[in-house]
């Protein structure tokens, strides 16, 4: 079980300490070698149970041989190929017969034991000439006797990639150790390791799950198998003088354990522990370090061994002095701060508590006496120091979760036992621990379970689930096991009951929620309607909250990504960038919109305003028609909406209330109009209650008028001017506008439909002619237009 950091998932090798160093902190998954989980289940089955009742499983990895029909053979002769420079003919021995095989492999020598795929064998087809070849996509191919440049080759010698035991394409052959028997199936020679990789992110409150024992207990409990906790007989305290301070500061650690062990030099690490460490991808170092690594992986408690000559007297745990320097096992020297915790001798810091040991005081092959320490370090301190120094280790990952004191002391005792059982001598032993009594007895009744889970369980069933997880049950009270620091209330225990019962065994019921079926937010409902209507003609875009525009009212972000460190006060710039993107993508005719928040602060109050942001490459009158259509659908009276323009920008108002603003931008050759309206103001002017208006029963009469006018004339003013000429005019509508050189410079032809209607009778030609004559006369006088006679 090794934590992998970084996307390549290469495990980090242990230094000579139980603190395994990493420089990359992007990914942190625990890897459990299945055979050490003490279960008869297949890896996939065990993984499914862990995933379903303990924590997420990321992957089940099998490192075994994937090829079949491949055997071990020894190279007994190598000859040149008669017809090809790059090929050689090798004679191989499978223990019974000799075979000649043609190969292009570079790394061959007589005497090597290699893998031979005989005709009928299936190996992975690897394309060695394609640098982008993905080994995970490789398919199996069947080996046949082939003729390689005139030489028959009954089989093929294989590399680790072709056997399926490599994560990448390799160039050479797989070479077996010299004592490997010949003629054996390679899958029997190369053992399969099955690994269950768990995702730790969801269990930051469970230090016990970073250990084999922790996972094993949960896995058994989920199968209704009870594991009896190990009994830890505490060695007698052996104290000889002033080895360490006798008082424990609980701010630093909830317990501190110390032991002096002599005679470790020359003791061989037991074979099964060596194998365990190797299978877990941990480098073998020396007896002391191997044992501490072993206990950390097995039980989840990191410990630290000092060379006795550095640590013998006046050992203490304390806060670091400001700017105190320490050179640690990864070779780096760090400058410490006052909040960092260290283990120190009388002169200086020897270890950054819970993170990494000092280089100077480390054990080595000549060390004979060690000072062994363990502590339940203050998790917050460990986390802060580890982040600040950017040093994440196997130790810090565990201490950050907060190890309960008894969890640490029990593990320390088993570690000390392991030392003495292998011939080392315990000469000093002391445990200081937080003795504050903890009141953590709970009563979990069937009614309580029902109120939270909605299922009826018998008391005996509840008790059984809790017992399986290590709770002490006395009558109807339960006490959580010492290793579960995450259990702090009844709900925590009910989650344990639910986990063992199976989340999927809880039925699904649709509740009868009150206030049935109500969206109930007028703002949301209005925004949704606006969005739907706008999306009929414009693209909805999404822009970033961040901006590079600053004002006294803008929020500033302390830790921006990139250069935009302010928060947008309006959406003008943001939607302009979106429009720019459209233009860069070759789209020339478009309208965009977004309904988004903009932000500002007044004194210390923050204001969030929802706006309707719109940008269009259409001509302004077409863009305005598009908006008018949206307004119309929202039942906003468009005759009351006014644009006041000066120098390409201005305000938009409804009656006399300002509801928004607009401006013009030119991106490349395209002119863009950008409009921003306050959503709440729009909502207030949208009339959701249709009103009946009296209308005339008499017919409408239409007349057209066309004239030549200056091209600077304001069309809105002009239409209004015409309309005011008579109360009988119900609408004035521009229907034609064009320029022609024959009209003269800066002149244009304009044509309007004018509609007349009266409330009191059908209008006569004479009545209308009179009004038209007045309009023509007034236009000629006021606007200097020339009426066109058709």
């Amino acid at each position: 079980m090794i934590r992998s950091f970084g996307k390549d998932r290469h495990s980090i090798q242990a230094q000579d300490d139980s603190e395994i160093i990493s420089l990359n902190q992007t990914e942190e998954n625990m890897k459990f070698v299945k055979k050490y989980l003490n279960t008869k289940l297949a890896a996939a089955e065990a993984a499914a149970i862990i995933n379903q009742s303990v924590q997420e499983v990321d992957a089940v990895i099998s490192t075994g041989v994937k090829a079949s029909g491949v055997i071990t053979v020894k190279i007994i002769d190598i000859q040149k190929h008669p017809n090809a420079d790059k090929l050689r003919i090798i004679t191989v021995d499978d223990g019974q017969t000799l075979t000649d095989i043609a190969t292009g492999a570079p790394n061959i020598e007589v005497g090597q034991i290699i893998a031979l795929a005989k005709p009928g064998a299936k190996i992975l087809a690897v394309d060695h000439y394609n640098p982008n070849f993905d080994i995970n996509q490789a398919e199996f191919m069947e080996i046949k006797t082939v003729n390689l440049r005139g030489v028959d080759s009954p089989g093929m010698v294989c590399g680790p990639d072709e056997l399926g035991i490599s994560n990448s394409v390799t160039s050479g052959l797989y070479i077996f150790p010299q004592n490997t028997p010949l003629g054996k199936k390679v899958e029997d020679v190369i053992p399969t390791t099955e690994i269950i990789e768990t995702d730790d992110k969801g269990t930051a409150h469970r230090p016990d799950l970073l250990s084999y024992k922790g996972i094993e207990l949960e896995l058994s409990a989920a199968q209704n198998i009870k594991i009896e906790p190990k009994n830890y007989p505490v060695p007698e305290n052996k104290l000889d003088g002033n080895m360490m301070v006798d008082k424990l500061d609980l701010q630093l650690a909830a317990c501190f354990c110390i032991a002096k062990i002599e005679g470790v030099k020359g003791i061989e690490t037991p074979a099964e522990i060596k194998q365990f460490l190797l299978d877990n991808n941990v480098k073998l170092i020396n007896f002391s370090t191997d044992l501490t690594n072993y206990i950390m992986l097995l039980e989840g408690v990191p410990t630290h061994a000092f060379d006795e000559s550095y640590a013998a007297n006046n050992l203490s745990i304390r806060y670091a002095k400001k700017d105190e320097l320490i050179t640690v096992l990864n070779g780096q020297t760090y400058k410490l701060e006052g909040a960092d915790i260290v283990i120190a001798n009388k002169d200086k810091a020897m270890d950054i508590a819970g993170i990494i040991g000092g280089a100077e005081s480390a054990t080595n092959n000549t060390t004979n006496s060690i000072i062994l320490t363990a502590a339940a370090w203050n998790p917050i301190s460990v986390r802060k120091t580890s982040r600040r120094l950017s040093v994440r280790t196997e130790a810090s990952a565990r201490f950050e979760r907060g190890l309960p004191p008894q969890f640490v002391t029990n593990s320390f005792i088993s570690l000390v036992e392991l030392f003495t059982a292998n011939g080392a001598k315990l000469t000093y032993f002391n445990i200081l621990s937080d003795k504050t009594p903890k009141d953590d007895s709970y009563t979990i009744t069937p009614d309580l379970v029902f109120s939270i889970l909605g299922i009826r369980l018998e008391q005996s069933q509840i008790n059984r689930y809790l017992e399986l997880l290590g709770y002490n049950i006395a009558k109807n009270n339960c006490v959580p096991p010492y290793w579960r620091k995450d259990i702090n209330c009844i709900s925590d225990i009910i989650e344990d009951v639910a986990r063992l019962h199976g989340y999927n065994n809880v039925p699904m019921v649709i509740p009868n929620l009150i206030n049935n079926s109500a969206i109930d937010s007028p703002t949301y409902t209005f925004a949704e309607n606006l969005r739907k209507f706008a999306a009929l003609s414009a693209y909805e875009v999404k822009t970033s909250i961040f901006s590079n525009i600053n004002s006294a009212k803008s929020f500033e972000v302390k830790n921006p990504i990139g250069n935009n460190k302010y928060i947008k006060e309006d959406n003008l710039q943001a939607i302009k960038l979106a429009a720019q993107n459209f233009i860069h993508r070759g789209v020339e005719i478009f309208s965009l919109f977004e309904i988004t928040n903009v932000y500002s602060k007044d004194e210390n109050k923050s204001n969030e305003l929802k706006v309707f942001s719109y940008a269009s490459s259409l001509k302004i009158e077409d863009a305005k028609s598009e908006l008018a259509t949206i307004f119309h659908l929202l039942k906003i009276n468009i005759t009351k909406v006014k644009f006041d323009e000066l120098n390409g920008e201005g305000l938009i108002s409804f009656d006399s209330t300002v509801i928004g603003k607009f401006l013009n931008h030119k991106i490349r050759q395209t002119e863009i109009v950008i409009i921003e309206l306050e959503l709440e103001k729009l909502r207030k002017i949208a009339n959701n209650k249709p009103e009946y208006h009296h209308y005339s029963q008499y017919p409408k009469i239409k007349r057209d008028i066309a004239f030549i006018a200056e091209n600077t004339i304001k069309l809105g003013d002009l239409a209004n001017f015409i309309k005011l000429k008579s109360e009988l005019i119900t609408s004035v509508e521009l229907f034609d506008q064009f320029s022609d050189i024959k009209f003269g410079a800066r002149k244009q032809s304009l044509a309007f439909h004018i509609t007349f209607q009266s409330d009191s009778g059908t209008l006569t030609d004479a009545q209308i002619n009179e009004i038209m004559a007045k309009i023509e006369q007034n236009l000629t006088q006021e606007y200097k237009v020339k009426i066109r006679e058709e």
Partner: protein, 329 residues
């Protein structure tokens, strides 16, 4: 003066005028207008004897009806000026953004189940986003690399769950609220991560809400979104504001559980974090956690959108590329 034959001839002469190409407008004036034979004949009708009335009344009506039929203003014609074979072309049109489209669908489903939309600020106090939700001061989520902080110590909310405190302040239980909106994570973007994204949170407090209801609501939601044959499973998970906490997985729609690229070969997609509201949260709102229980859930909107549209790169959702935006909604 009124004679059967001349009246009947009106139909024949109208037909030949029509075939000669005269417009229906002109012919209506000629045959049905104020100066037409038929109009005049109708005017004479009151002066006739009752026997004559019986003879000419129905005749006039029948001829008038036939002329009306013949001289219809609006007739189906085979001679048309439009080209019906021209290719189909869409008028200038717009598109909802896939994210907002998805968000609206999600809100509608929960709204029908009884959840009210309740909106709160995106720039929040640290308390609403973290402390109130039991994300302790020393929790890794508080680190600078995960959260955007403003210079005046406000938080660009990292989760819509931040609305729980305001909901508890504003509503008296029982209540059920939802909110969908922007959240922010100070992390670098890749194919599955955005730093500005959208989330939907649901939160209900009542006296009789429990885990079965949480499951029921969420299962119902996914069925409505992805169809009745969705398969789900619930697993233990940890979020500080719920206990028990759960993760809801949905069987991969693409491979139906056998494992494919979209689901990382697991056959399942992690889709909703949820749980029973932690008693401390109920308590800090001044309610008795022995009486009131809550259900809470949070769903990544973009994740749902990616599944709905079978996308493989979440960044498409913030690029504002027209070629993308016009594809889906």
């Amino acid at each position: 003066m009124m004679d059967n034959n001349s009246l009947n001839n009106l139909i024949i002469s109208a037909k030949s005028d029509l075939e000669a190409g005269q417009s229906t407008y002109d012919l209506r004036i000629k045959y049905l207008g104020k100066n037409s034979e038929i109009f005049k004949s109708f005017k004479l009708l009151p002066s006739l004897s009752s026997d004559e009335k019986k003879e000419f009344g129905p005749l006039l009506n029948s001829i008038k009806a036939n002329l009306e039929l013949l001289l219809q203003e609006d007739v189906k014609t085979s001679k048309i000026s439009q080209d019906y074979t021209a290719p189909l072309k869409v008028h200038k049109h717009g598109h909802s953004h896939p994210t907002d489209y998805t968000m609206a669908l999600m809100i509608n489903i929960f709204s029908k189940l009884g959840f009210k939309v309740f909106e709160t600020p995106e720039i929040e106090d640290e308390n609403d986003n973290f402390s109130f939700l039991r994300v302790a001061k020393d929790h890794p989520a508080r680190d600078m690399q995960d959260t955007f902080w403003t210079t005046d110590e406000k938080v660009l909310r990292t989760q819509t769950t931040a609305f729980q405190r305001r909901a508890l302040e504003q509503f008296k239980p029982p209540f059920a609220v939802i909110q969908a909106g922007k959240v922010f994570r100070a992390e670098s973007e890749d194919a599955t991560h955005l730093s500005e994204l959208n989330m939907l949170d649901g939160f209900a407090i009542g006296t009789d809400l429990n885990f079965t209801h949480l499951k029921g609501v969420l299962y119902n939601f996914l069925r409505q979104l992805f169809g009745n044959d969705v398969k789900v499973r619930f697993r233990p998970s940890f979020f500080p504001f719920v206990e028990p906490g759960a993760e809801m997985d949905m069987m991969c729609l693409k491979c139906k559980g056998s494992g494919c690229k979209a689901c990382g070969n697991s056959g399942w997609l992690e889709i909703i974090g949820c749980g029973i509201t932690h008693p401390e949260i109920i308590e800090s709102a001044g309610l008795d956690p022995n009486i009131y229980h809550g259900i809470a859930f949070g769903i990544g909107v973009e994740r749902i959108a990616m599944r709905m549209f079978e996308m493989d790169d979440i960044r498409e959702l913030v690029k504002n590329n027209p070629e993308f935006l016009e594809q889906l909604t």
